[in-house]
Symmetry: C2
Subunit: 368 residues, 2 copies
């Protein structure tokens, strides 16, 4: 009796995971975190209407969800002024990234992203055997011009760009992204991850035609909508690409209560305004805590703030470890020089107080 | 501006889907179904404790679910007397089937299943370029001996077998499956789909060692546990294979309320007994309705009954259409000669009454 015969690609993949979850860290330290500020979840929660819709939908959880996500796609189409045929709904942006990589990338195909950008995208590219080419951030921002130039050099099929950016919180005007598209090589698809765009300044959304075959925009209910645990993301793109997802997606993969919750969340614009206001306050608070400790907060168009700890990655990691040890869950960028920062998600005043209380000792320990 | 450059495999895939959902049919007919008896969902619903756990978990839906599914995997491990390292949790069995096919199958690899067995497995095999080899049912049962012999002939990497079977409801003693394993060729993995085993006769579960590298058993909360809309399936296998899923799965793909619901459902054995009893009653009722109409119900170890309509597939399809037209959602097997049957899921007395009321007219219309 021998083991299953894995594909050569599967054999070659490492057993690493994109992220260690906070629950794993809690089990390791034997205690719950006091403040959960590391995954850019929305501590402010979902719309109460969305929460009620999810609770009510439990009565129907014995039924599979609609595999077409019809009602949600129609509502999203109305919201964005496009057709439902321009919308694909999936198990979070993570799930959709896996599908789009699978549609385009086979072993050896070139893909471009920024050094230190979203690791789950890289996980999927590696998982389908793609060759990742990385360009550095410029002034803590992803650089469309460099990304697209590299895409031309390596004949990339796919390029990833988050706007606003995670983990730095930086952003470009949407019009600048659109202008840069002219340098995207023909036949290269841009995955424009707009996960945080609902809390970005006006004009950050890329004003593209939905029929433009050069890009797919990714959106989510996990961030400003406060439904990370529901797993609802969606892509907006030309009909041909949207239709291609039907060749590979898990048609019955969506949770039925999540479908109902997302629909209700989309309709509650007042809650979104409320959360945006809370995010703005929390960003200010994080910035002020950083400055009170002699650190530099970076401007942010997201629901988190990258704090420049002023030294190298080892120092920032020591600060992070000091925070974790005190029960404050935060994360940090992976690549230099962005890894001189820690990344702190927006929270309620009590979460911010806990962070403020823990940061001085974490810094002192890191300096000693 | 040209379209994205899909892989040759993606280009070759049809845009078909494994199943048309009942919601799609409801939209087409402009009316809701009176009885939803086509997808083998559990109309009896989830454990009230599971429902309450899901409603309560909405409070925490702003958080991603634990990507390790730690608590659920531990509980499942305890339940099955194995280690948590022998359990992988995923977005329904459908999601897990996709992952296991991806781990083993690359274009041209041989895979074996039964003609007319679960189409979503076939969808995944086609989606990764595998070559499907099909063997016929024998006496309306999948035949392990033939499946494994064909696997040897074609050097299959993977073979699929459901016990109990869907769509026929037939079954084998688990010990017979284990005995047949000796003829499974070395290096071929058996996917043993036990989705319906909780309502099958004692002895249907395959009594295998969890360290046996020759198979993975698939289980679900979608059937007898009544949580199809939650999307929670799991696989039980040797540690090496379970670990390999971590190379390709969507680590943050699980809905957080679903994790909580499955944990509560697993602990409510009284509800499972209640549902088993309801299923047994409903099977008897379906059988009696069939006989009242001169049709032959097949024995069933599942939460549905295949009814032999006594003629060919075209006739059974006409009966099915007649039921659909009267608001009774049912499905039927895809392949001859099993497609002489319609497949009716167990329901509450009111659902069964609606089926009983509709069947005579559907039969009359089919005969005319």
């Amino acid at each position: 009796m021998t083991d299953p015969r894995y594909t050569p690609l599967a054999q070659s993949l490492p057993a690493t995971v994109p992220f260690v979850g906070p629950e794993t860290q809690e089990r390791q330290r034997g205690a719950a975190f006091l403040a959960r500020l590391g995954a850019n979840e929305s501590v402010f929660g979902p719309s109460p209407r969305a929460a009620e819709a999810m609770r009510q939908a439990v009565d129907g959880v014995w039924m599979y969800g609609d595999p077409e996500n019809h009602d949600l796609r129609q509502a999203l189409a109305d919201h964005h002024g496009v057709s439902a045929d321009n919308i694909v709904v999936g198990e979070g942006i993570d799930g959709l990234l896996g599908y789009v990589v699978r549609l385009l990338v086979e072993p050896g195909d070139a893909v471009v992203t920024s050094e230190g950008a979203y690791p789950t995208f890289n996980y999927h590219v590696a998982g389908f055997g793609g060759t990742l080419h990385k360009v550095p951030y410029v002034d803590d921002r992803e650089d469309p011009a460099r990304l697209f130039a590299r895409a031309a050099e390596v004949d990339a099929k796919l390029v990833y760009l988050a706007n606003p950016d995670n983990p730095m919180g930086s952003w470009h005007a949407g019009a600048d992204i659109v202008a840069a598209l002219d340098s995207l090589p023909d036949g290269c698809l841009l995955v424009l991850d707009e996960a945080y765009v609902e809390c970005a300044p006006h004009g950050t959304e890329a004003p593209v035609s939905v029929d433009d075959p050069r890009l797919i925009r990714m959106r989510t209910f996990s961030k400003v909508h406060g439904m990370a645990g529901a797993r609802v993301g969606y892509g907006i793109a030309a009909k041909g690409l949207i239709s291609a997802f039907n060749k590979v997606r898990n048609h019955f993969g969506m949770n039925r209560t999540a479908q109902a919750g997302a629909l209700a969340a989309l309709r509650d614009r007042a809650w979104l305004d409320h959360v945006r206001s809370e995010i703005a306050s929390a960003r200010d608070r994080i910035a002020s805590i950083a400055r009170d400790n002699g650190l530099v907060p970076l401007p942010s168009a997201t629901n988190f703030v990258a704090i420049d700890c002023g030294r190298d990655g080892a120092f920032a990691k020591a600060v992070l470890d000091g925070l974790i040890a005190q029960g404050i869950f935060v994360r940090m960028p992976f690549a230099a020089p962005q890894n001189r920062c820690i990344r702190v998600s927006c929270g309620r005043p009590a979460d911010m107080d806990a962070f403020a209380a823990a940061l001085p000792a974490a810094l002192a320990a890191a300096r000693s």
